[in-house]
């Protein structure tokens, strides 16, 4: 499991993002929530990432697990479809946390400018379903790790110590 050498601050929860709710789709428009997070981002933090339990979509896709500003400040990840219960299966908290962690790393990767990876084990590999998420590891491939290190160097953050 890869970790980033960056301290994490947990902000207090915010109210359910009703402004992003689409009554026809009965889902939440992730870009609107992302915009909210970007607007509330504080420059004292490197990145702000939101976690929500609601199901997310973007207009062109039926659902998304998360959305990020590519090479930007913020990202959002939804846990709705990461839970076993969503698929009518028995709850599995450990698996849920593992999936959530992978998706958080994935979206954070995007905020550092990383794009999707062809290697199926890399956390930057695009997963459109939970089977795909479970298949990939929580680590970056060599190429993406190098890109990340370079990006962190640009931001004067040491990596790997």
């Amino acid at each position: 499991m890869d970790t980033l050498p960056i301290p994490v601050r947990v902000l207090p929860s915010i109210e359910s993002p009703v402004y992003a709710f689409d009554p026809d789709r009965k889902q939440y428009y992730s870009t609107k929530i992302l915009r909210y997070i970007v607007n509330s981002h504080s420059d004292s933090a490197l990145r702000t990432i939101g976690i929500t339990a609601v199901d997310l979509f973007i207009p062109i896709l039926t659902y998304v697990f998360g959305e990020a500003q590519l090479d930007g400040k913020a990202a959002i990840v939804s846990g709705a479809r990461l839970k076993q219960e969503y698929y009518g299966l028995k709850p599995d908290k450990r698996l849920y946390v593992e999936r959530l962690f992978k998706e958080l790393m994935h979206e954070l990767g995007h905020t550092f400018g990383l794009t999707h990876c062809d290697l199926s084990y890399c956390v930057m590999h695009l997963s459109n379903n939970v089977t795909g998420i479970d298949k990939k590891t929580a680590t970056f491939c060599e190429n993406h790790r190098d890109q990340l290190i370079n990006k962190l160097k640009e931001l004067e953050i040491p990596y790997g110590k």
Partner: protein, 455 residues
């Protein structure tokens, strides 16, 4: 690493453009969103794209109209039509008109991802295929000549061996077999390659004009000779001269030519001053010069001077294996010249090309392909284009030797014999041309008691 695949999104709804763009950007594609068909056409002129995602319903120009316009100048660019209101009719229409796929908005992330990956993979395979075919063709390429034929490969070797010497070469071959290309290859392989290659057609001019063309003339040598003009031999100095249809020159010119070959000097008309020339002579004829000597119309001494080395080019009907290769090269050439993008010849049209006897050889094939490429409505040449090229000659060309009072069996026997002979008794090729399987062909051979000695 190869550059990022480039995708254009055409949709009048901003929300679709932005959400699809950001999603595809994360996937590592280079994405250009535009809001109308008109802007899309403008953008296509500025850079190349690997894929277009086009909304079906747009004001002014709709998705299908746009696709039609795009296909006119970029027939290979894959287009995915997107719509929020999918009906079977529109889907069928889109696919019929050349869309790669038809997707309903909103997309399932998995579906769009797989579709795009499939297109990219197919594009890559097509590119690779084109590259490999080119590489393969190179193996059979010798300068501007292409052949898989063993005899032709031997000729290429011979050219390499003799080109660097200055020996006179006589090229013999039917009309349209590429005698000039052989001569050009000889010149290109020789040490004289950076000097002029001067081709002269000996049939197109009268005796006096040809004489003046070859040796030049002094000012006032004859009426109309207002200035001194150098002849082709002088122009070819240090290079090569290619005398095409040498069998057609007059006895006087034969003698003059013999003198040039012996003395390596020319004398301009109206002068007595010999001028030394250093020219490699390559001559060609479609005539049987041996017979011409026997009939007293060609000088034997000149024949031996010219015929130090003879290159005998087989006619196209004796190398049917070259027809697909030559066809491919010719299509590519005509595509380049006409801006068309024909890819290949359909199987039945190719069968006809392979079956025909090509009395006009490669030149005739070239004419057929040129005509077919120009007439082709799709990117494949079919019987519709090839068939009419032969017109009434097709029967003569295929030459199965039928006549009005012949029985069907006799016709069949003659035709099978002719196809077998044309293909050196290669059963598989002959069966393919005849449109029957190998077993049937063996049965017919047994039935008609055919053997390789059959006339």
């Amino acid at each position: 690493m190869a550059s990022k695949p480039s995708i254009m999104i055409v949709d009048d709804e901003e929300i679709v453009r932005t959400s699809l763009s950001s999603w595809l950007l994360e996937d590592g594609y280079d994405v250009v969103p535009v809001e109308s068909g008109k802007l899309a056409l403008e953008a296509l002129k500025k850079k190349s794209y690997d894929l277009m995602l086009v909304d079906l319903k747009m004001p002014e120009m709709d998705g299908l109209e746009l696709m039609k316009e795009v296909k006119k100048f970029l027939p290979d660019l894959p287009v995915i039509i997107m719509t929020a209101y999918a009906t079977v009719d529109t889907a069928v229409k889109a696919i019929k008109e050349g869309a790669f796929d038809y997707l309903m908005k909103p997309f399932d992330p998995e579906e769009i991802s797989i579709t795009i990956k499939k297109i990219m993979k197919q594009q890559m395979l097509e590119q690779e295929n084109i590259y490999l075919r080119k590489e393969l063709a190179k193996q059979f390429q010798f300068h501007q000549l292409y052949s898989k034929n063993k005899k032709m490969q031997e000729i290429f070797e011979l050219i390499k061996n003799v080109a660097k010497t200055d020996v006179t070469i006589l090229i013999h071959g039917e009309t349209g077999t590429g005698k000039e290309l052989i001569a050009r290859a000889l010149h290109a392989e020789s040490l004289r390659k950076d000097r002029p290659f001067v081709p002269v057609s000996c049939t197109s001019l009268t005796e006096t004009l040809l004489e003046s063309e070859l040796f030049g003339h002094e000012k006032g040598a004859f009426t109309g000779a207002s200035t001194m003009v150098k002849g082709m031999f002088e122009m070819a100095d240090k290079g090569s001269i290619f005398l095409d249809e040498i069998g057609d020159i007059s006895p006087k010119l034969q003698m003059d030519l013999l003198r040039v070959l012996e003395t390596k000097e020319i004398v301009r008309i109206g002068s007595t001053q010999p001028i030394p020339v250093d020219v490699r002579v390559i001559a060609a004829t479609n005539r049987d010069l041996g017979k011409a000597i026997a009939n007293g119309i060609f000088r034997e001494d000149l024949y031996y001077r010219l015929n130090v080395i003879t290159i005998d080019i087989p006619p196209l009907r004796e190398k049917p294996e070259d027809i697909p290769l030559l066809t491919e090269q010719l299509i590519e050439k005509v595509n380049r010249e006409t801006g068309k993008s024909v890819k290949r010849v359909s199987q039945d049209a190719m069968a006809l090309l392979m079956q025909y006897r090509w009395p006009g050889n490669i030149r005739e094939l070239k004419n057929v392909i040129e005509r077919s490429v120009v007439l082709a409505k799709e990117d494949i040449i079919t019987l519709n284009e090839v068939g009419p090229c032969f017109g009434r000659n097709v029967k003569d060309g295929i030459s199965s030797g039928g006549s009005a009072d012949m029985s069907l069996d006799q016709m069949e026997k003659n035709h099978i014999t002719s196809v077998l002979k044309n293909n050196n008794w290669n059963i598989s090729t002959s069966a393919q041309i005849l449109g029957i399987d190998r077993t049937t062909l063996y049965n017919k051979i047994r039935k008609y008691n055919l053997g390789e000695d059959n006339k």
